[in-house]
């Protein structure tokens, strides 16, 4: 079995937008995860979710990967963009829309 960081890398490289969260988009298990899902639902761009509650290795591994102590975490185009507060702030300022649009129009990373 590959290491947590290899699995994280592979997930964020094969999906333009990845949300590491508690629960899933239909049943978020935490208010901050729910708020982040809400933003991406409003954006309407396709996104992948990973339920960290179902995988302890990923839950801890993703915190190390991004040097970020909390869940949710959002990756766009393979890059860590932020947690719930940052995503909401970027959405309100319109920057998130630009980041997503750029990511969607760029060719797949591999």
């Amino acid at each position: 079995m590959s290491s947590a960081s290899e699995r994280i890398q592979s997930t964020i490289n094969s999906n333009k937008i990845v949300l590491f969260m508690k629960g899933n988009r239909n049943f978020p298990m935490c208010g901050f995860s729910a708020a982040t899902v809400q933003v991406f639902e409003e954006l309407g761009a396709p996104y992948e979710t990973v339920d960290v509650l179902a995988d302890q290795e990923i839950r801890e591994g993703v915190k190390v990967y991004s040097n970020w102590p909390t869940i949710p975490q959002v990756y766009i185009d393979g890059k860590f963009v932020g947690g719930c507060d940052i995503i909401r702030e970027l959405y309100e300022s319109g920057e998130l829309q630009t980041i997503v649009k750029t990511a969607m129009s760029a060719p797949a990373s591999h």
Partner: protein, 81 residues
């Protein structure tokens, strides 16, 4: 934990910062913080939040369940008022 304790930890790591911490539930583990610091100048949001998380160290993992953060430079703070 006490919001004042969190505030002091952030102030120690970011000297000169203006820090406001509020316990959002009264339970001592959900907090909201506003941090205004010159150190944030020229830095992205991820780096700013990482600086605050870094200040809290192990407390962030062990004693703080949730921390809603707002990080501003002094000029951004002025513009908001």
């Amino acid at each position: 934990m006490d919001p004042m304790e969190l505030q002091q930890m952030i102030e120690r790591a970011l000297p000169g910062a203006h820090v406001e911490v509020r316990d959002t539930t009264g339970g001592g583990d959900h907090f909201e913080a506003l941090v205004v610091s010159e150190n944030f100048e020229g830095k992205g949001l991820v780096e700013r939040h990482q600086a605050v998380y870094g200040a809290l160290g192990d407390a962030m993992r062990a004693r703080v369940h949730a921390l809603t953060l707002k990080t501003l430079t002094p000029s951004q703070y002025q513009n908001r008022r």
